[in-house]
Amino acid sequence: MAFRARHLLGIEHLTQEDIRTVLDLADTYVDLNRRTVKHSDALAGMTQINMFFENSTRTQASFELAGKRLGADVMNMSMQTSSVKKGETLIDTAMTLNAMHPDLLVVRHGASGAVNLLAEKVNCAVLNAGDGKHEHPTQALLDALTIRRAKGRIQRLTVAICGDVAHSRVARSNLILLNKMENRIRLIGPPTLMPAGISEFGCEVSDDMREGLRDADVVMMLRLQKERMDGGFIPSEREYFHRYGLDAEKLSYAKEDAIVMHPGPMNRGVEIDGTIADDINRSVIQDQVEMGVAVRMACMDLLARNLRQERGRALTEGTYV
């Protein structure tokens, strides 16, 4: 079986085979989650700590639920109110938690690369729940699972990713994953919200929604952050909605059966029209939330298996990791 990684820091380090392994296992957890008794013992006895240096409701809840359904002891640490405020460095915080012997550490941090740095210092498995503008791997995996279940495959699809690509870790992880799985990717948004050198990533870049959405199988909308709405990157909210907001007219350029995705939370009337978001024939936004729990269960299950194996080896070799 694939997926031998110690940590899940980004999609960058995964192979096609790894991704399929996660998605296949996640499929079984979707079934489990739909039962009345939603319980497995995959993480029984293990300790999972959620460290969120940035505010998050849905991702943290999703990870918490995923851990609990797998039988782990889950602890949430809101880092905004903790010793970080007292000047403790990231590494010291990590070392302190490490001394409590967690098995899974779920980390979100505002600085790109912060989760990589932390992973170097601890003995447990680290899951990146979003670091700066770098990666958000479980979001890309849950998007992939959603697409695969809706479209029957996660290959040879035309996927349009629209909006604030520059500041989006979701876009980066999705771009890498969809590229690895051999899809055709279009990035659409105003040039001020496109990162430099993005065309070298093996995707098409467009600043015109209608042209970009033409014949797309999947339309992935990105959240526009409030602080970027006025003057700095785009002239105004209303001009943005006019040119880049997804409405029925623009969506009509995509394939008839194209699905609409959004990582949430949505700004209705800014990047997406409310009626599109609620259209059960097009929008899979609620499915994404459901797949999120399953995918996170799969990721933690796989990492826990690797961790047990590693520790088993270490015991026979006489070294503790």
């Binding site: 990231l90 690369g113 770098h134 980066r172 070298e200 990533f201």
Partner: protein, 425 residues
Amino acid sequence: MTLFLKNARLIDPEALTETKGNVVIDNGMIAAIGEMSAPADAEVIDCGGKCLAPGIVDLGVKIGEPGERHKESFRTAGLAAAAGGVTTVIARPDTLPAIDTPETLEFVTRRAAEAPVRILHMAALTKGREGREMTEIGFLRDTGAVAFTDCEAVTTSTKVLGRAMTYARSLGALVIGHPQEPGLSAGAAVTSGKFASLRGLPGVSPLAERMGFDRDMGLVEMTGVSYHADQVTCARTLPALERAKANGLDVTAGVSIHHLTLNEFDVGDYRTFFKMTPPLRSEEDRLAVTAAVESGLIDVICSMHTPADEESKRLPFEEAASGAVALETFLPAAMRLYHSGALSLPQLFRAMALNPAKRLGLPQGRLAEGAPADLVLFDPDAPFVLDRFTLHSKSKNTPFDGTRMEGKILATFVAGVQVYKNNTA
């Protein structure tokens, strides 16, 4: 006392030649060069056919005094310089507080006596390097400041900078600028482009350097000041530099050894020891500036030695301190350019010794009769793996830790006195 260095491969950056020969040192000066035999009373050192070159004149070294002595002192910087073949250190004024008064300059001049190599000081161009009021350029010059610079703190007010340049011009003082458009580079940690986007790090366009350079060239033309750009690191700045020189402006430019030997991808998985100011550039830029050193368009290679302690580097990339120690790895890193065929040894020493000395009006940097006997003896081919904890610098923030390098410094002489001898080579 007379010293006779025999059987050396002599690197002459003026004539751009390599010849076999001997050197006679008398009273701290080079008395003779050639095929002569040892004077009767001379102490003889056999160079064993290894390279003898003028000691490196390093334009732009950060030393932690005053204010950050826990990162580097004059003593440790001096030992590192001696071990790296750097015989003249030109110290930067970006200290705490900045070297912006004759009193602080006198203090560092006194402290610098601890070092076994020559140390000369630059002073800030504006008070506190804040870009608001010019410093006492006249007094500072009288106290020994060899150039005036605010280092990476770019003066945003063109009016202030123009006045400071006009005043400096009247005293014949050299102004060293940092070509960068600060509005664009604020908050940037890497060069914008594919790598920055992949890592999700804030980037600055390489054109920000050109814009800063163009602005400074306008001011140089307006004021007639002598100007040196501390680091020109991008291909797209080079035509502007060429034009400025062709137009007869008194302009020279430097580049750090890191920008000649590393590129943006070396940052890899957020390795903060590779965070520099300006950030490492693309491979195309690296090749272009290397070619510019070869042609002489870029005059000076410097180390941009910048000590940083572990605490300031063990942080997420954006928050981590910028800069790397380089005094001891300067020459071995430069040997990469020699071994790759990009630059000859005389060309390297033209940029590392002769040109910086000339720019500052110093007699150093030459391998000629009558020049000061500041020399480095090195083996360009000796391989080693760098262990950063063997460095003499107090700070160990080198990007070359664990790297295979070639080029060992065997001995360093300042004014005819041996200040370093490699006991392991």
